[in-house]
Symmetry: C2
Subunit: 205 residues, 2 copies
């Protein structure tokens, strides 16, 4: 039995959807960011980085969304969530997810997590003002250069799709209109109709 | 034949070392960041993101360090650069590399790339001042919670090692003394003695 620690509105939704898509036997445990529960002693024992997601497995605890997504794909090969027998195609999946974690998620985090990288209120305000521009540029790049259809990698639904969907749920708060990116908007609506997405959203409460 | 685009002093060194460790047949091509060559039309045709590394393969072009590293490990299994037949152990490797790309590299980038996330000179200065603290915290986390010995994952040298070494080469410029982290300092020196590391550094000129 796998146990996923998540917080609402975070990238942990991507791993949650992937577990649901895989038909995995899992439970979820909510961490309350408003109460700073991610920095409680109990949770730091699970993930010393004080972040979500964290996935408790029989072998130990895994963190970091791209790693968990690939683990789910490899652990449940029948779900065909990644091209496991093709190193190049697998690397394309991983490159997309790596871009989401190291560039897109990071750009988004500057809206409310500026204190990770600066100390002055004026800097936080400056960072926050730039988010619509940086996130807009990221999503233009995805729309124009990366996103195939109907899924990120084309005909085959992969672990890229729940991750992109999860980050796209942040667009409105980031001041970016998804309607400017027609392929992305279609992808978002296509995702929202999937049973695994609906299941995960219900389970997150 | 693989072709790796790199720039000096960047994270592309990690992929370069991995190719050398794998015994791959490869060439390297230098991109001159001082001349802004990464944003030239020619290079944007290789990588629309205007970043390094980019790896040209027979099947197409790959980007993003964690994806390229896993690709090298999977493409050259005899080099044993990752635990390819163990999804959990592979996920641990990936989690480490994902932390380097999305947290450690990002913290470092605030020293000279503040304009990615803000617009005011005062914000850039504020970000730069905080880098010794943020990078110091990252390396304390790696030292205390992640780094086994003699290699990142223990007895087995993996694609985590060239990536950690590459980012550790930035420590002095980031205002962090590696000597504060004895296991990391040992790892750094152990890496510097490897033939593949020496080869890659010579090839980068």
């Amino acid at each position: 039995m796998l146990r996923l620690y998540f917080a609402r509105g975070t990238c942990a939704l991507a791993s949650h959807i992937a577990l649901a898509e895989a038909g995995a036997d899992y439970t979820v445990e909510r961490i309350d960011f408003k109460a700073n529960q991610q920095n409680s002693a109990d949770y730091l024992a699970v993930n010393p980085k004080g972040r979500v997601p964290a996935l408790v497995t029989e072998r130990g605890i895994l963190t970091e969304t791209p790693a968990i997504l690939a683990f789910v794909a490899q652990s449940f090969p029948k779900a065909k969530l990644a091209p496991l027998d093709d190193a190049f195609a697998f690397a394309q999946v991983q490159a997309f997810n790596s871009y989401l974690c190291s560039t897109v998620h990071v750009a988004h985090a500057h809206r409310v997590r500026g204190s990770r990288w600066a100390s002055e209120e004026s800097s936080f305000a400056d960072m926050k003002r730039k988010v619509p521009q940086t996130i807009g540029a990221c999503f233009a790049m995805i729309e124009d250069k990366m996103l195939r259809e109907p899924w990120v990698m084309g005909e085959q639904y992969t672990i890229c799709d729940p991750y992109l969907y999860t980050i796209a749920t942040w667009l409105e708060g980031d001041g970016v209109e998804i309607a400017k990116y027609p392929k992305l908007a279609d992808h978002y609506h296509r995702m929202a109709e999937r049973a695994a997405v609906k299941k995960a959203l219900v389970e997150q409460g």
